[in-house]
């Protein structure tokens, strides 16, 4: 993504010459390609195609798909709510300690998800210091779809923050200055100038955050539990099916693989290489 924005600038290193190597050198990419494709091919080979439909329905895959949609959309909305102002502040306000704040905000990217689950449990669980307050307000997160969404948002929001911050930094602030000089309100400038320009970064960030939320497993099972129809998302359904019906687990995995490919095509094909 950085490379694109660099190339988009007419000055700088846009004119840097690229030396090309002979075509057979492309074989260097082969190990990485095989490393990814061989296991995925294993899914296709092992899949019980003849009973795929019944495997899906018996393992509760369709219910899990519904839960996953609910959880990931909730998580993405929650992520957006916290990420948009944070990204703006990180990109536009040169406050002291900004790097530390950014590092802390994106920490969940490198944090093991199960640690995220334990941490969420410790803070937002029924006996946690925030969870106790929430409980008094009548809000419980453990074993609820909302809890699964919070777990997913915790691990996916950083992706949105990073994408949006890069988006804000890539904006041409002169347009905003000009609009302000012409008498536009801050709100008008944000809605009519900033948001439209931000859209590619916003969409890319939303898709990435959504995809990360879709794959969330560790924090969800630790914090929200596993119940068909409320907290059993697709990854949890895969894990549970693996205990009793590996064929079903493979079929659901293939479905999620298709979604991932779709995400790549959406992000890579349209948003990044434009």
């Amino acid at each position: 993504m950085r490379e694109r924005s660099g190339a988009a600038e007419t000055h700088g290193h846009a004119g840097r010459a690229r030396r090309s190597a002979p075509a057979p050198a492309a074989l260097l990419a082969l190990p990485a390609l095989a490393f990814v494709l061989v296991p995925l091919a294993g899914l296709a080979v092992k899949a019980p195609w003849s009973r795929a439909g019944s495997a899906l329905s018996r393992s509760g895959a369709w219910t899990a798909l519904g839960v996953s949609l609910e959880v990931t959309l909730g998580a993405t909305a929650l992520s957006l709510l916290v990420a948009l102002p944070a990204a703006w502040a990180l990109a536009r306000v040169p406050f002291p300690g900004r790097r530390v704040v950014r590092a802390l905000i994106v920490l969940p990217i490198v944090l093991p998800p199960v640690v995220a689950g334990v941490a969420l449990l410790a803070a937002l669980g029924r006996l946690g210091f925030v969870g106790a307050l929430l409980g008094r307000a009548g809000i419980t997160l453990a074993f609820t779809t909302a809890g699964a969404a919070v777990a997913a948002a915790f691990v996916s929001a950083p992706f949105l923050v990073l994408a949006l911050e890069a988006g804000f930094r890539g904006l041409d602030t002169r347009l905003e200055d000009a609009a302000r000089a012409l008498g536009a309100s801050r709100r008008y400038v944000f809605q009519r100038i900033v948001l439209p320009q931000l859209r590619p970064a916003l969409v890319a960030g939303l898709v990435l955050a959504w995809a990360r939320a879709l794959g969330e497993f560790g924090a969800t099972i630790t914090f929200a539990g596993n119940f068909r129809g409320t907290t059993q998302t697709l990854p949890l359904a895969v894990f549970q099916a693996l205990q009793t019906d590996p064929g079903a687990a493979i079929v659901i995995s293939l479905g999620m693989l298709a979604i991932s490919v779709g995400v790549l095509v959406a992000v890579g094909g349209r948003l990044l290489v434009r």
Partner: protein, 258 residues
């Protein structure tokens, strides 16, 4: 340049380090490793037995993989390399006996189940029947997991199956997951094995006994898995579990096999 080489070599070095795990570099008397797949409920008792067995057998290392018996059986059927399988129910030992096959199968312990609640007991549960009270947040092991199946049998025996299962909020992957959710205070109640209420969790959970009339007795079989690379040593470990290891099982609260 040198750093680049190190970086390039790193994956291979890492792979080598991993693959050497099973074959330590300094050959002692004779290094032998047993891999034991055990039901999650056996975690503490088997680790204690393993330590004693290792102390008595020079150069022998026991590697345990604990999990739900159904999941372990599934792993064995997928070709996971293991020497012994210890299941929390006959059902999953039967499955493994069919594929890939077992030898020297023997029951080595029995277990009962108990209701557990957080020490704060937020739902005010004092007996099994209270699990049917509306609003109780009940957590069980998933269906198919022995502890989950036994728990459902118990609810059936007590005639509160429908009401209690309406309170179910999570199907945990194994019995230790149930214990964790109760110990963390997230769930109001769960059903686990008597042996799961170890000293480690006694401060966080209270056990509420299930009357014998409705309780289920879980039988634990152990067997040497077909394809074991050291069946002789595997059988020695099995005999140890059936013999001297019984004291560790008793200490953990298991009943002797029938």
């Amino acid at each position: 340049m040198r750093r680049a080489i190190v970086v390039l070599l790193f994956p291979f070095l890492a792979l080598m380090a991993c693959s050497r795990g099973s074959a330590p570099s300094q050959p002692a008397a004779r290094e032998r490793t047993l891999t034991v797949l055990g039901a999650a409920s056996l975690t503490d008792a088997f680790q204690a037995i393993g330590r004693r067995f290792e102390a008595r057998h020079d150069g022998v290392t026991i590697r345990f993989s604990f999990g739900p018996s159904d999941g372990l059986a599934q792993q064995l059927q997928q070709g996971a390399p293991a020497d012994l399988f210890a299941s929390a129910s006959s059902k999953w030992m039967d499955a493994v006996a069919g594929d890939p096959g077992v030898g020297h199968r023997a029951d080595f312990a029995r277990n009962r189940l108990t209701v557990v609640v957080p020490t704060s007991n937020p739902a005010g549960i004092t007996a099994l029947a209270d699990l049917a009270k509306p609003g109780v947040r009940l957590v069980l092991a998933a269906e198919g997991v022995p502890a989950g199946d036994y728990a459902r049998d118990i609810l059936d025996n007590a005639g509160i199956s429908r009401a209690a299962l309406a309170n179910l909020v999570s199907n945990e992957i194994d019995v230790k997951g149930v214990l964790q959710k109760v110990a963390a205070g997230e769930a109001d109640a769960g059903i686990v094995y008597v042996t799961d209420v170890t000293p480690d969790v006694r401060g966080q959970v209270t056990a509420i006994p299930i009357p014998d009339a409705v309780n289920v007795i879980a039988t634990y079989p152990i067997a040497v898995v077909a394809g074991s690379r050291d069946p002789g040593l595997a059988l020695r470990f099995e005999r140890y579990v059936l013999g001297p290891g019984q004291s560790e099982l008793r200490r953990a609260g298991f009943l002797p096999a029938a």
